[in-house]
Symmetry: C2
Subunit: 588 residues, 2 copies
C-alpha cells in the first residue's frame, strides 16, 4: 500500500501525526458550494475497539486549530487536546467505546487541504494554495461520513465536538439524523455573531494583505505570510480568553514582558504573550488552511432564529447534550440557548448546562471544566454513577396524581429527586428545568433531561400543551413573577400541579398574632425573615384567590400536615390546618 | 504673525481645521518619559466668551481619533463630534461658558505630532516619524496647561472628556487639583484592561509590520502603511461597538456586503463595513500618530487598585461626574466604578451613573445617550431645571432626627426626595445611593451627589464611620441580604436611621387571622403577594430582635400611624398599633 501521506511535501505543515492513519477517497468529491476535489485523504486516529455490531463508535470533532490527536494512545504518549475527557476509564471510556477523531477537510494535519499538491495536474504540479475550493462544515462532515463507511460504522453512538467541532456535530445531526444516537455540542453555536465574524474577517485581511501571502501561492517562496497569520492568531487568542482571565493572567506583570525573540511589539506582558502565541502558530499551521477553515466557519449557519433552527433539527432523533460557559463571549451561552430552545420546542431530548467559568471560550478544554461536564457526557453514554435519591411526602402525593403515560415538565427540579422517581415509575418523557448550576449538574449526571433555565424569564422555549403535566413543586416561594409563570405553566401543560407551603397555617398565623413576628415555616422556609432566599409567602386562600382572578380551574386539591403525614379534609379549614397544599389546575 | 500651521507639509494629515487657532510654545518642552520637543504648536477651537474673572472656562478633551472641532461655530458650520452636548442653550451652554477644545499632543489635526517637520534640524529637515518621542497623557495635559495660561485661565470651571478624553480629564485632576472645579469623565477608565491592551498591541503590530511603515519614515515614500492602519482601525471599531449593536447593524444583510472598492475582504456586510471604515481612516489619520496616541493610552495608569487610586485622587478638590455605559466592554462600567469607589472612600463629591445602552463604547457620542447624561453635566455646571420634590410624614420625622451639621448617606435614595430636603435644611454633605437608573438620573439632574450602587453588594466603597448618619428609608423591604447590610450601615455610619413598614401592624395581622391571606400593606407595600417587588416583611419586633442578635444599640424609636400622622407611644404596643417605625441605631 502506498503511503497515503506521500503527497505532502511540506515539513512545516501537513506533517502526519505519529498515530495518524489515513483513508483515501477517490473523487471527484463534489463540494457543497460547487467545487470539487479529485481525491481526498483523511487522516484520523482511533482508540478502543469497534464491537461486533458496530454500536460503540464515538466520533470526536476538533476545533479550528486542532487535529486528530484528541487523546494519548499509551501512558507515555504525548497528551491529546481532550485527554481529560477521553481515555480508558475516563468520561468517554475507550475501554467501552471505539473513538474516532479525524483531521478536518481543509486542515493541515494530514487531511487534504490547501497545502497539498493538487493531483492530476502533472507535470505542472503545485499545491492548491488559494485555489483550494471553498468548503463548508457540510463538506467536512461528508468526508467524515465516507470515513465512517470505510470503518464499517453506520450509526455513531455519539458525536462529540467543541467550538468548530460542535458545528460539525450539529451539522451531522441536521443532515444525517439517522446516523447519530447522541450529539454532544460544547461551547458552540448555530452560527457566528456579527462580532465573531468581524474578528475572522480582520484576521483573514491580515493574512491576505501580507505581501508574502502572494495570492496564496507562497509554498515555493522564501517567505510565508507568517506576519499576517501571527496577527490573525493573536486576535483569535483574545477571543478565546475572557477579559477577566486575561486580567488575572497578565496584570501581575503587566510591564514585564516575557523574554522572547520576536518582530512583534513586546512592551506589555500580554504583548509578548500574544507575539509568542502568534509566532508559535506559524510553525504548525498553514495560512491557507486558516483562511479556508475560518471561512467555512463564517459561512456556517443553521438558522438565525428559532423557527429556522426548528426546521434544521426537525428530523433529528438523537439525544442532545449542549454545554456552554458563562464567560465565553465568542460562542455565547445565549447562542447555545438558541439551539436548546429550538430543540425544546421540537420536544427533542436535550440536556443543557451553562457552566460558570471565567476562562472564556477556552473553558471547554480546561480540566476543571471537563470535570464538571464530563459526568454529563458519561451519563449520556449510559454510565450513571450517582445514587437514586429519596422523595418526600409531598412528592409522593404528586407522583400519585400523575397518570401513567403522562409526559412531565418539572419546574425547579433541583437535583432531580421527583424526576428520578417519575422515571422509576415508568414515565418515559420527563424533563426538568433548574437554574442552580450544582443541581443541574447533579440531575444531568443522573441521566435526566434537565435544562438550565430561569423560570423568571417565562417558558418561551416550550410550546403550547407540550406536556401532559407541568409540576411546580416547592418552588413557588422563589418565583419573582408569579402571574406570568402561572400563565406560562397553563399554556405549556395540559394540567398543572402546584405544591406550596401554606403561610396561613395555624402555627404560622400564631407567629404574627401571639409573637408579633413574621412567620418561620419549616422545610424550604426554614430561614429567618432577614436571610430567606424566598420572596413569596402566600396562604392556600391566596393561591385559590389568584386562580379565581386568573380564571384557572382547580380540578383537585390535596391538603396535608407534612410532619404527621396527615391529609386535611377540604371541609376542615385547610387554610388553617394544612401546612402544605397540592393543587391540580388547568385553564379549561 | 507667521502662520503657526506653516510647518505642516502634509495635505493628508495635520491639515488645520477651518476654525482652529494655534498657540506656539517654545521649548525645550520636557516630556514625562525623558524626551523633549524643541517647540510645540497646539491647535484649538473656542466657543463663547471668557468672562472677566475667567471663571467660566470649560475644557473639552477628545478621544483617540477626535479633534478640536467638538461643536459647530455657526448654524451652517459642520457639526462637531459632541454637537448635541455643547452649544448655545445646550447642556454645556456656550452662551454661559467659554469652551476650549485643543487637539492633543502627538495628534495629526494641527497640534505637534509625528508627521510634523522636526524643527532645528535644517538643512536635513524631515518629519519626526517614529523618532517622535514617546509621550504620555500627562504630556498632553501639560500642553493644555500651557494653553490655559496663554488664554488667561487659572482654573477650569469644568474639564469634560470621554474615552481618552476622560483619561486627560482625570490626569488634570490628579496632577493639578487646584486647577479644576468639576471633572466630567465619561466612558473612561483608570487604566486599560489586559484585553484592551491586547487589541491595541495587535493594532500597532499590524501597522508596524506593514512593509510600507518603513520604520515610521514613510512620509516621502510612494506608499504609506495604509493596510496596517486600516486593520488597526477595523479592530478598534469592533471594540467601540457592542456585540448586540453589531448584530442589529449587520445581521439583516449579513451576506450582502456594501458595494465599496477595497483591497480588503468584503464577503459579509460587517466585512465591507470594516473595510470601508478602515480605508476611510487612512485618509484622515497618520499611522505614526495612531501608534503614538495608542501607546500613550496603554501607558496611562492611575492605579490598579483602590488604594492606588485613592492616592491618585487624594488632593483633588473638585466635584466629579462619572458616567459609564452598560454595554461598553472597552472601558467597562466596572472600571468607572473603580474610580468612583476610590473617590467615595476619599469622601470626594461624586455622582456616578451607569447608563443602560446597547451601543457599546460609542454610546458616549450618541444623541439618545447624551440626552440622558447631558442634564447631569448641566446640573454640575450649576443649572438645575428640575422641581423640588415634597417629602412624606416618615421623611419629615427622619429629618428631625438628623443633627444640623451632620453628613448623611441615604441608601436607596430614589429620585432624591429626602436628600433635597436635607440640602434645603442646610446639610452640606449629603450623598445618595440608588440602583434604579431613572431615579439616579432624576436625582443627579437635581444636582445631588448620587451614586449608582446596588446595596445587595454591600457598602465596600465607603470607609468606616464616613458619615454621621446613614439612612435606610422605606428600602429594607427590598434588601436581599439584610444582615450584611446592617453590618455595613453600622460600619459606615456613626448613627443609622432605619424606617420601615411594620408587618405586624394590627390591620395586617388581621389579614392572616381573619381573612387567611398574606397581608397587603399600604404605601411601598401596595401590591399583591404575587406581584410585589418586595421580599422582606418584618414586624417591628422582628427588627428589634435582629438588633438584639447582632448586638446593635437602639438609641431612639419613633412609631407612627402614617394615615393619621399619629405618633404611637412606645408603651402602647407599637408592634400592634404602628404601621411604620423609625429606629436610630449604632454599634456602641
Amino acid at each position: 500500500m502506498p503511503d497515503p501521506f506521500a503527497s505532502t511535501d511540506d515539513t512545516r505543515t501537513a506533517s502526519p501525526l505519529p498515530h495518524a492513519k489515513a483513508a483515501v477517497f477517490d473523487g471527484p468529491i463534489r463540494l457543497e458550494l460547487g467545487g470539487e476535489l479529485p481525491m481526498v485523504r483523511c487522516a484520523y486516529e482511533t482508540w478502543g475497539t469497534l464491537n461486533e455490531d458496530a454500536s460503540n463508535a464515538v466520533l470526536v470533532c476538533h476545533a479550528i486549530s486542532g487535529d486528530s490527536h484528541v487523546a494519548r494512545h499509551a501512558p507515555d504518549d504525548a497528551p491529546g487536546w481532550w485527554d481529560r475527557l477521553i481515555g480508558p476509564g475516563k468520561f468517554v471510556d475507550t475501554d467501552r467505546f471505539f473513538v474516532v477523531c479525524p483531521n478536518v477537510l481543509g486542515g493541515c494535519r494530514g487531511t487534504t487541504g490547501p497545502s497539498d499538491i493538487a493531483p492530476n495536474r502533472e507535470p505542472d504540479a503545485h499545491p492548491y494554495g488559494a485555489e483550494f475550493p471553498r468548503i463548508t462544515i457540510g463538506d467536512m462532515v461528508s468526508i467524515q461520513r465516507l470515513l465512517a463507511k470505510e470503518l464499517g460504522i453506520e450509526k455513531w453512538r455519539a458525536i462529540v465536538g467543541g467550538s468548530l467541532g460542535g458545528h460539525q456535530a450539529l451539522t451531522w445531526v441536521s443532515r444525517y439524523p439517522e446516523s447519530v444516537e447522541c450529539c454532544v455540542a460544547i461551547a458552540t453555536s448555530p452560527r457566528l455573531t456579527a462580532q465573531a465574524l468581524a474578528f475572522d474577517v480582520i484576521g483573514r485581511n491580515a493574512i491576505q494583505t501580507d505581501p508574502a501571502f502572494a495570492d496564496g501561492q507562497y509554498y515555493d517562496k522564501p517567505n510565508r505570510p507568517d506576519t499576517g497569520l501571527a496577527i490573525a492568531r493573536m486576535l483569535g487568542h483574545v477571543t478565546y480568553l475572557s477579559s477577566e482571565a486575561m486580567e488575572q493572567k497578565f496584570d501581575p506583570d503587566r510591564h514585564d514582558p516575557r523574554e522572547i525573540v520576536s518582530s512583534f511589539e513586546q512592551r506589555f506582558s500580554v504583548g509578548s504573550y500574544l507575539a509568542h502565541q502568534g509566532e508559535k502558530f506559524t510553525t504548525r499551521f498553514d495560512a491557507n488552511s486558516y483562511v479556508t477553515l475560518s471561512m467555512a466557519m463564517d459561512l456556517f449557519d443553521l438558522g438565525a432564529n428559532r423557527l429556522a433552527l426548528m426546521e434544521t433539527f426537525d428530523e433529528s432523533v438523537c439525544d442532545f447534550l449542549i454545554v456552554s460557559f458563562s464567560s465565553d463571549w465568542l460562542f455565547t451561552p445565549g447562542q447555545s440557548r438558541d439551539i436548546v430552545d429550538a430543540l425544546t420546542a421540537l420536544d427533542k431530548r436535550v440536556t443543557y448546562a451553562e457552566i460558570t467559568s471565567n476562562a472564556g471560550h477556552d473553558s471547554f478544554l480546561m480540566d476543571q471544566c471537563i470535570d464538571q461536564y464530563g459526568p454529563l457526557v458519561q451519563a449520556k453514554l449510559g454510565r450513571i454513577d450517582a445514587e437514586e435519591p429519596k422523595i418526600n411526602t409531598a412528592e409522593e402525593l404528586i407522583l400519585e396524581l400523575i397518570p401513567d403515560s403522562a409526559s412531565v415538565l418539572d419546574l425547579g427540579c433541583g437535583s432531580g429527586r421527583l424526576l428520578s422517581a417519575l422515571k422509576r415509575h415508568g414515565k418515559d418523557r420527563v424533563v426538568g428545568v433548574e437554574v442552580a448550576q450544582e443541581k443541574i449538574l447533579a440531575a444531568a449526571a443522573r441521566g435526566l433531561d434537565v435544562i438550565d433555565y430561569d423560570l423568571n424569564h417565562g417558558l418561551s422555549a416550550f410550546i403550547d400543551k407540550q406536556f401532559d403535566v407541568v409540576v411546580l413543586s416547592a418552588t413557588l416561594q422563589a418565583v419573582a413573577n408569579v402571574e406570568a409563570l402561572f400563565d406560562e405553566m397553563l399554556r405549556v401543560g395540559k394540567r398543572v400541579i402546584v405544591s406550596f407551603a401554606n403561610f396561613a397555617y395555624r402555627e404560622l398565623r400564631e407567629d404574627y398574632v401571639e409573637r408579633g413576628r413574621s412567620p418561620r415555616a419549616p422545610g424550604v422556609f426554614d430561614y429567618d425573615w432577614y436571610n430567606t432566599p424566598n420572596r413569596r409567602f402566600p396562604s392556600i386562600a391566596d393561591v385559590e384567590d389568584l386562580c379565581r382572578v386568573k380564571k384557572v380551574t382547580i380540578h383537585h386539591s390535596v391538603f396535608i400536615e407534612t410532619d404527621t403525614r396527615k391529609l386535611i379534609d377540604p371541609n376542615n379549614d385547610p387554610n388553617l390546618n394544612a401546612d402544605t397544599a397540592i393543587l391540580v389546575l388547568s385553564r379549561d
